[in-house]
Subunit: 534 residues, 2 copies
């Protein structure tokens, strides 16, 4: 039964149709080039996600772009260091610029480091030896997984030694009964799901970058992804972590147990700390069963109050089978229609809600979904709606939501903000932004993960505009802070959002973070310049 | 719909029938009295959960019982201190022995502190003022919630100042749409569920001590409870924590957001650290919807391999509606039949598996459960089984499982071990124990939460036996450590398990825990003597 076509199809749905191919996208996304001035530096930091259509010849060095940043008091790599590295990771010390280039530039082409050395360990012991040596020599390092982050957290800023985890890609064990997988940190999510699929299991999280991103990087950034509404976050699903501390000590917290209350839960320190407290080298993850059936409904609402009523009804009536509640406003639906010629099966509405169910019985799920549709329509909560259970139709509805980002790019320059706000203020951010920027822009759209209160605010113009940018930042982040939202729903702070750390944290909290950093990495060699403002 | 009888019934099931009344039980549970010798001290530490039928006149002072423990270099409370406390928490400074007695003795009657002062703050500011003063004066404190722990973690060892959170019992807010509740730490779980119920919501965790235990204590001990299989642990469900640090600083990490990746996730530090890093004063918790229907199946298996096959089939076929998988061996079933005259609807089998489902549609759930029953019986995985959907029948099946502990007490003395082991070794611990203790005991039983790999090993004798105890400890904990299990599935280390911290943690891990403790509580005033061995 567990190897049935139903499950294969379900896995395919989970791991394929809902995610754009980042590697393809990478070649056409880039950020605008800038001049090397302080004013521009401020702009670049704030405007980290402004996108346009041509990739510049070469992404500007972060050290040039951000002139306020000063290189820390770290040693520089010498020939003697290279000899030692060669001994520690034989034939896996890369120094040719062409080999390193891709590891110096982040995925969105916003940041470029000047790392001169790339190390590719295969084992925890090698990572330990590298860090012990680097710590002794006071050589700064940046741990790097799939390099799919969006805040410049996984590339050097200056000449940090890059430690790529890509060769640490072994599945260590899988307990089919408990669903606990143990693997090295460099395992790509797609690879993990490939290993899980024959056992009817899947990762509890799935991301747009699943073909490139690595579990160690996911943990280090506390990646949420598309399944969080249903399966929860990595703080709950990661059962164990093995990490190498700055001094090279190996911290083995690789428990595979769901219940373990013996002292402080140290693994939590490494979930979301962006490689600044230790390098994650292995993890154990609780993996759920692949659902037997997946269905979706697309519903049109004419007020945001109705959107919330729809969400509430979906949570109440679908309960255990609810796996996603996504949101698009009219402007989002228009852009996929206008720029990509996709067809919406519904008429024009102010808002659209996409509800996905994942269950073990297709007929049951369809019945529940139809009940929901009947309820919301009879009660005037939605104006129009459709349910799809057939794979191609499911996929075509998801395509509307998944292609908003692609469609927006065709407008020219896109200012993107991925933030979390309390549910009651979810759409106010978009409405207030629209009022603020007026007619100076092509469009202001709001879409995102309603179930997690994660709104993607996007503003497009034909090309970069200082006026628009100045109207948006730091206004957007101030707005988010005022309503106790989070300036970083995903990806962490990296270097691009570090100036906003206090927007979502109190002074005592940041102070404690700094104390933890000092305790665990007294020389500050692990991923310096990230997370904390100067 | 959300206020329907169906939901009320479901809530009742979740919050009533599955949990014994701890407060009643308290009056008949006690630990054996001992002499004040080192040999006996060792025994008392190890034999923390040996139970018999009469409560001694007065629980022995921990400071007398554990002579190896030396009082730390803390100040003693003076009249001047009492005057200050009276100013900080007017009329809520208790010093009468009768008022304090219940706060000095832990729930199981194993530990008794000699606290002379009980403070009852009502606000975070008061907790802050208390800790700031105590830290300045180097007065040790023990934070206390419902005092329902089983490892002596919530009572003083010497004369620590007791800070009771019981008056901090305000519900601060509830976002009905997102399901996020914010409340003070002293809220009792039952009270929270009472506030949630009209909104169709419930806490993600429920515990045997729900009528007494407080959310702050639950967080501080990372309580798992009966819903963990379905709703996950508190590391995933607690969205925010407000805590007061040892120096009185208030750490406001009271986020209500599901996605928030802005710096280190500090709240995780307070989940499971037993009040030793800070006093939790408020929390925000993600609360799921009350299920519309609850059903159970009781299945009899004749080999443990079949038990695992049954669990696997339940996870695969029930998926989203599975809410509990509990385990009893034949000896567990026999004891409830022999000592409590309960009736098992099945014939004799070596093992029993109780499967509970919670879903939104009773008919759907029953169909799925019947499919499971058909599958496991047709394939010879279970020898016999029954499904119950009618509330009284559901309750009578649960009563078999829930009353094992009560029934065991009637055997006389009970040695109890609540540990987690890898699923593949789940029952080996019971079998090996049975072989080890031979015929010197009344019975050796194994039951517990199969879904979380949490086994309750219980050994009974007519009365305490040194031979049996010496055969059991530290052998049981050594056995657990050898298979990489956890010596504390629930409740933490407290004082009673602190000697076994290294059994489930490596040296570098304990070192880092100690460093964290030193960083956050340099004078060591918060809940001293707990967690760490000397």
């Amino acid at each position: 039964m567990r190897r049935s076509n139903v499950i294969r199809y379900a896995l395919e749905q989970y791991t394929s149709y809902r995610v754009p191919n980042i590697q393809c996208a990478q070649s056409v996304w880039y950020t605008q080039s800038t001049n090397n001035t302080f004013a521009v530096w401020r702009r670049r930091v704030h405007c980290s996600t402004a996108l346009a259509q041509k990739r510049p010849e070469r992404v500007q060095l972060s050290s040039v772009r951000f002139p306020q940043l000063k290189r820390g008091d770290f040693a520089r790599v010498t020939d003697r260091d290279l000899q030692v590295f060669e001994r520690l990771v034989p034939s896996r010390v890369l120094t040719e610029p062409d080999d390193i280039e891709g590891h110096n530039v982040d995925w969105s082409g916003t940041c470029r480091g000047d790392g001169q050395v790339l190390l590719r360990p295969k084992t925890t012991e090698e990572v330990s030896a590298i860090l012990r040596y680097c710590n002794g020599r006071r050589l700064a390092v940046v741990p790097q997984g799939g390099n799919t982050g969006l805040v410049g957290g996984s590339v050097p800023v200056f000449d940090e030694v890059i430690i790529s985890l890509s060769l640490m890609d072994k599945i260590i064990s899988l307990d089919e009964i408990s669903g606990v997988l143990v693997c090295q940190a460099g395992c790509v999510v797609d690879k993990i799901n490939g290993a899980l699929e024959p056992h009817g299991l899947m990762t509890p999280h799935i991301l747009g970058s699943k073909g490139s991103c690595q579990i160690g990087g996911n943990i280090s950034t506390n990646a949420g992804g598309l399944r969080m509404l249903r399966y929860g976050n990595l703080h709950g699903n990661v059962l164990g972590v093995e990490a190498v501390l700055a001094n090279g000590d190996v911290l083995d917290c690789l428990s595979t147990l769901r219940k373990d209350n013996t002292g402080y839960d140290l693994k939590q320190l490494f979930i979301g700390s962006e490689g600044s407290l230790g390098v994650v080298t292995a993890a154990s993850v609780l993996c759920p069963r692949i659902p037997g059936a997946v269905s979706v409904a697309l519903l049109g609402c004419d007020s945001f109050a109705q959107v919330l009523q729809t969400y509430d009804a979906a949570k109440t009536m679908l309960q255990e089978i609810l796996s996603a509640v996504e949101f698009m406003d009219r402007a989002s639906m228009e852009v996929v229609q206008e720029n990509l010629q996709l067809t919406c099966p519904l008429g024009a509405h102010s808002y659209y809600v996409l509800v996905e169910t994942s269950g073990s019985n297709a007929a049951h799920d369809e019945e529940k979904l139809n009940s929901l549709l009947g309820y919301v329509m009879e009660n005037g909560i939605v104006g129009d709606g459709t349910v799809a259970t057939e794979p191609s139709k499911v996929q075509s509805i998801w395509a509307l939501r998944e292609n908003v980002a692609v469609a927006l790019r065709r407008d020219g320059c896109v200012y993107k903000y991925d933030v979390t706000v309390p549910m009651s203020r979810f759409y106010d951010l978009v409405a207030d932004t629209r009022e603020r920027v007026g007619t100076d822009v092509t469009r202001v759209v709001g879409y995102g993960h309603l179930g997690e209160s994660d709104i993607h605010l996007n503003v497009t113009c034909p090309q970069h505009s200082d006026e628009v940018f100045d109207a948006l930042e730091p206004w957007v982040y101030d707005w988010v802070a005022k309503c106790k939202g989070s300036v970083s729903a995903e990806h962490g702070m990296g270097i691009l959002k570090r100036d906003y750390l206090y927007h979502s944290n109190t002074g005592p909290a940041v102070l404690l973070m700094k104390q933890l950093k000092k305790l665990m990495d007294p020389k500050g060699i692990l991923n310096p310049y990230k997370i904390f403002p100067d």
